[in-house]
Amino acid sequence: MNARSESGVLLRDIAYSRSGDKGDISNITVIPFDRSDWDFLVENLTTERVAERFAGLVTGRVERFEMPGLCALNFVMYGALDGGVSTSLRLDPHGKSYQSVMLDIVLPR
């Protein structure tokens, strides 16, 4: 494991991500570069931390699914896209940029 400062671990330094949309639901997948960081992510990248990061953007609940074969965490965020791509007035109605917002989360060391 690398890139851990005094203040914490920047998710961007240990993982990559992808966001997708379906209706008003955004899902963001997070996968560590190094498989040895999987347990750390499972323990620390909680739905609470993700919900806190997206407060103001996401109005509904956040769920998390584990995909151990890929070392992937799949976050599903409801009420995430201002009603959904087809009617949202947001600049990024798909939430494509959410994957980058996710990676700025700082996890405790």
Binding site: Y16, N27, E66, S86, S100, V101
Partner: protein, 456 residues
């Protein structure tokens, strides 16, 4: 066309292989990578996914204006490009028909003939149009909390998501080109796999495996390095000329790869990210063919730009089928103006206040209006506010019940040049009709499909 590895030494060992390429990932995708795949001789099928959630409702609106339109506007260029390869035996499958399958069928037959393709069977799959069936049923639209009939003439389209069954039947009857309307994205790819291997649609694990092929390929370069680059950590070579993905599918696993010499990258990261893409619970991904379980899928690098994928499981398909209903919702207007240097955020906010007051006279026709400062809070929301950047754009977006009101908002925004704060430049604005798309789940027994075959 199932190749054994003995006859076809370039494919990986491990039994018979079906070779499928992605032709497009959305309605206006690049054509050259599809041409490259078709010309390579490395794929037996090319599947084109041409529909996103909104595409069909928009196509229906075009058809309402001109009944001869409503199929994919790129269909003819695609046929022109693919004709020589269809003649050599490459088979094409796509949801090219959008809102007008009959017209797409006749246009396809004609264009194939014009391009020298004779005696090939073109198949059209009818039956995705759900409007009549839904009007009889009059279901509630959960997202809107009203019944279909309450929306009256605002309902412009309703389409069942169709599965693999009729594509397989078309291929069985010798079709070289298969087209339809709202065929589920993954089914376009899953069908030729099931057809070539002779798999029954009741063989859930195998259908889930075939569905995973489609799920990985259906967004074109998202499996080969698109939507991934983030230097310096994530570097993708030659983004401007990435190859489209192809799958060498075997019973139990598959190799995802791309043509040598194309840009992009195929590895466990680019393919692995695509497995959960737009999937919610990975153990229950619902499609018209199967309830797929991708939760145990693995992606392993087996060589440069080659990834071995396996592990999909399946259960019976859902008893309900998804219908997407398109609803006219007035007009959307967006506009932007730029401000620079010290105080730019303050002037942008003053411009927003000025514009808001200037359009009070149409308030009764504005259902929603928002202002945001691009460079500050447009993508991430106010909670991530930071100091004044060197320049910003004020963005206004509104939803109006009338087109006239939307145009008034655009005109008033334009007037910020001279009536607004100092130094506002580069106004752009846009007014579009707005169509909301909403899912409804109905009994799968309501779907009545029909196959039409025509020889070129």
């Amino acid at each position: 066309m199932v190749n054994s590895s003995a006859q076809n030494p370039q494919v990986a060992p491990g039994g018979p292989t079906v070779r499928i390429g992605c032709g497009s990932g959305y309605a206006m995708d690049r054509l050259q990578p599809a041409i490259d795949l078709a010309a390579s001789g490395e794929v037996d099928y090319l599947a084109f996914d041409m529909l996103a959630e909104r595409t069909l409702a928009q196509a229906q609106m075009r058809k309402n204006v001109d009944p001869a339109t409503g199929y994919n506007p790129e269909l003819i260029p695609i046929i022109r490009a693919m004709a020589p390869f269809v003649d050599r035996g490459v088979k094409i499958i796509g949801n090219f028909g959008a809102a007008n399958v009959p017209s797409a069928l006749s246009a396809t037959v004609e264009a194939l003939r014009e391009n020298g393709v004779r005696n090939r069977v073109v198949a059209a799959i009818h039956g995705d149009d759900a409007l009549d069936a839904l009007r009889d049923l009059d279901p509630e639209i959960p997202d809107l909390g009203v019944s279909l009939s309450e929306l009256g003439e605002r309902v412009v389209s309703a389409n069942f998501y169709l599965g693999s069954e009729y594509i397989i039947e078309a291929l069985r009857q010798g079709a070289s080109w298969v087209l339809g309307g709202r065929i589920a994205d993954a089914a376009l790819f899953a069908a030729p796999v099931c057809h070539e291997f002779g798999w029954s649609l009741d063989d859930h694990d195998r259908v889930a495996h075939a569905t995973l092929v489609g799920h990985i390929l259906e967004c074109s370069t998202q499996a080969t390095g698109g939507y991934f680059a983030d230097p310096p950590r994530r570097v993708v070579p030659d983004l401007h000329r990435m190859g489209f993905p192809m799958a060498l599918v075997r019973d139990g696993d598959m190799t995802i790869t791309k043509l040598p010499g194309t840009g992009g990258i195929v590895d466990h990261r680019t393919v692995g990210l695509q497995v959960p893409y737009e999937v919610h619970d990975p153990s229950a991904y619902l499609t018209p063919d199967v309830t797929a379980d991708f939760s145990q899928v693995t992606c392993v690098d087996e060589g440069p730009d080659r990834v071995l994928v396996s592990g999909a499981r399946g259960r019976a398909k859902p008893s309900k089928v998804k219908v997407l209903v398109g609803v006219k919702l007035g007009h959307r207007v967006t506009a932007e103006i730029g401000y620079a240097a010290s105080g730019c955020v303050g002037r942008a906010r003053l411009a927003a206040d000025t514009h808001r007051e200037s359009v009070r006279y149409v308030d009764d026709q504005i259902s929603e209006i928002r202002y945001e400062v691009v460079g500050l809070n447009a993508l991430v929301g106010d909670r991530f506010e930071s100091p004044d950047p060197a320049e910003v754009r004020l963005r206004m977006a509104a939803h109006c019940t009338t087109e006239a009101a939307a145009r008034s908002l655009a005109t008033e925004f334009d007037r910020l040049y001279i009536h607004g704060p100092a130094g506002g430049g580069g106004v752009v604005s846009d007014v579009k009709s707005m169509i909301g798309v909403y899912p409804v789940y109905v009994d799968a027994g309501l779907v009545e499909q029909r196959l039409e075959l025509v020889e070129s």
